[in-house]
């Protein structure tokens, strides 16, 4: 018998550079045609646990949209184990953003060990504060700000709800700041924790911050969800109660894998909604938000 199928042969696609990253419970293998995004990731994630054994939960790929786009007006196409058919490519100077989007995409479409809530989260005394809302609600900025004021940062993109224990697990990737939030955070976070400024991305100007070292070191520690907020930026400061059915429906919309988990997701979410206090919160400045949050947190038993 011929050894047909072994060996390499002509028509191989270009070789990829790669890097391993562990964020919370998820291990990523990021492969890229270009070194640039990997060098940036390596620098920004230098304090994260290094994976030595080669295992990965997900592979992310960053490749030219067409072969010639490796050199001519390079454009980065995001794919991997899980991918979306209509994902728009990004220019090479936004390849760090592409890598982050690629990792988020794997989590959103492929992660099944937790119910994923599109929410930021911070922890104090073993209890977690979650913030969810539409883009522009300020949930990411609020979590970044609280992380500089004594809270442990757990994540600004996904809160991972364990369906068996009801605990929230940390997914503390880089904090993604947009537009005005960049200048606001520059006032309180040292320069050496900032990534490159990426202008005019599909989401506006973006700059990443490395989370505080403490939150990276404790990224394996879960916390008990104690309060969920729906922040809204730009309105007079106010707190409102919300009905459980509204909360439930909004969280199904805020979850990327609620449907994919089937009954497990339903049970996890009903348990969450039944046990965790919730408030809608309007604010016009970070100070106002902090004051409201401190007040609510103090009232928790």
């Amino acid at each position: 018998m011929l050894a047909w199928s072994r060996g390499t042969g002509v028509g191989q696609v270009a070789r990829l550079h790669h890097l391993y990253l562990t964020v919370g419970p998820a291990r990523f293998r990021v492969a890229s045609t270009w070194r640039q995004p990997l060098d940036q990731l390596a620098a920004l994630y230098k304090d994260y646990p290094a994976s030595q054994d080669g295992y990965a939960d997900f592979t992310v790929r960053l490749e030219p949209e067409k072969p010639w786009r490796r050199y001519i007006r390079p454009s980065v196409h995001i794919s991997g184990d899980y991918w979306l058919p209509d994902a728009a490519p990004l220019p090479l100077n936004q390849s760090l953003l592409a890598a982050e989007m690629g990792m988020n995409l794997q989590m959103a479409l492929g992660w099944r060990r937790h119910l994923l809530l599109h929410a930021s989260s911070v922890e104090k005394d073993g209890k977690a504060l979650l913030m969810t809302g539409l883009s522009g609600s300020g949930k990411s900025t609020l979590s970044a700000m609280l992380a500089e004021k004594g809270w442990r940062f757990m994540g600004d993109e996904f809160a991972l709800l364990n369906p068996d224990t009801g605990m929230v697990h940390s997914f503390p990737r880089l904090i993604s700041l947009k537009n005005e939030a960049i200048a606001a955070m520059q006032a309180i976070v040292p320069d050496n924790r900032f990534g490159p400024l990426m202008k005019d991305t599909p989401k506006g100007d973006i700059r990443h911050i490395v989370p505080p070292l403490d939150s990276v070191n404790k990224m394996a520690d879960p916390a008990k969800p104690a309060l969920l907020l729906f922040p809204r930026f730009g309105y007079d400061p106010a707190l409102r109660d919300m009905g459980k059915s509204e909360i439930f429906v909004r969280l199904t919309q805020a979850s990327t894998n609620y449907v994919a988990l089937g009954e497990v997701g339903f049970r996890a979410l009903t348990m969450f909604v039944d046990t965790v206090p919730v408030k809608a919160i309007d604010y016009q400045s970070a100070d106002q938000a902090e004051e409201l949050i401190d007040g609510l947190w103090g009232e928790l038993s």
Binding site: S5, R6, V10, G11, V13, R27, Y55, D57, R61, R112
Partner: protein
Amino acid sequence: MMHNAQSLVDALREPDTVLALDGAKWADLISIARAESLVGSLAHRLADIEVPKQVEPILRDAIQATDLARQQALWEADSARRALAPLNCKTVLMKGTAYVAANLDVGIGRSIGDLDIMAARDQLPAVEELLLDAGWEWVKQDSYDDQYYRDHMHELPPLIHRERDRMIDVHHTILPLTARPTPNAVEILNAAIKLDSELYVMAPADMLLHSVAHLFADGDLAGGLRNLWDIDRLVQQFANEDKEFWTELATRAKLHQLERHLERALRLAARLYGTPVCEDRAGKTRFADFLYVRRLLARDGWGRENRKFTRQAFYIRSHWLRMPPLMLARHLWTKWRKG
């Protein structure tokens, strides 16, 4: 870095082979299996193997995902049954949904996407109307595509359910009307087997032949490893359970004009998955088998398709098989003008 999908084929055929993998090779294997939609089947195949603890949750996830896919597929099938009940005609489930509805080994861990059903051609307008009434709607609005489907394809243009967001493909035969073999759709419906649910699945030989037709004639062999794994599982189970299976298969292959296709599929399954096949049905090895194997294994450890030339050749070939030259030219011209 793995340069082809051989490790996946090895793991499916002989689960012990994974014991030799290190961490990076496991990462390759998982990416390849996900890209080939075989990660659920792989996870089940490795159920009795002691895999590294880093891999266990990945395989468990894959099993849970396909368990849910099975449940959803059966629900979709039942929704279609309810919608079509007034018609009182045979509704035959096809592919993945049929495998799980009939509780076949091939359904274990299989990924399932759209719901595929088959009904008699003269019933199609009524089927279409009932599905539209029950909440399905057209996916494509384009009138060229719509007319193309109706004139030349073996199925209605795809429909999607407006609430559940799930697609249904309604077939009246198993190959496009423009393809060279002409399977006997009436005979397939006549021989179909009724399940407890009142839905039907194809009889064993027809079911295997549909899988064969699907592998070769209805595509460019993308996802071919999964289709070929279906063929392996079907052959192993049917040949085991029924001594007359190979004889029946010969009769039905002739009836559906799929003898050559069947031979090649069996040779490829035997070569890649070690499927025990009846030599009279598989025929002699041909040179082109080599190209098929190259094409089927064209995926690297990052999960990327490689061997571009081989793939391109199969893509052109898939269109060539599907339509006569003049029609192909007209089709590509229209598609090109529309951008």
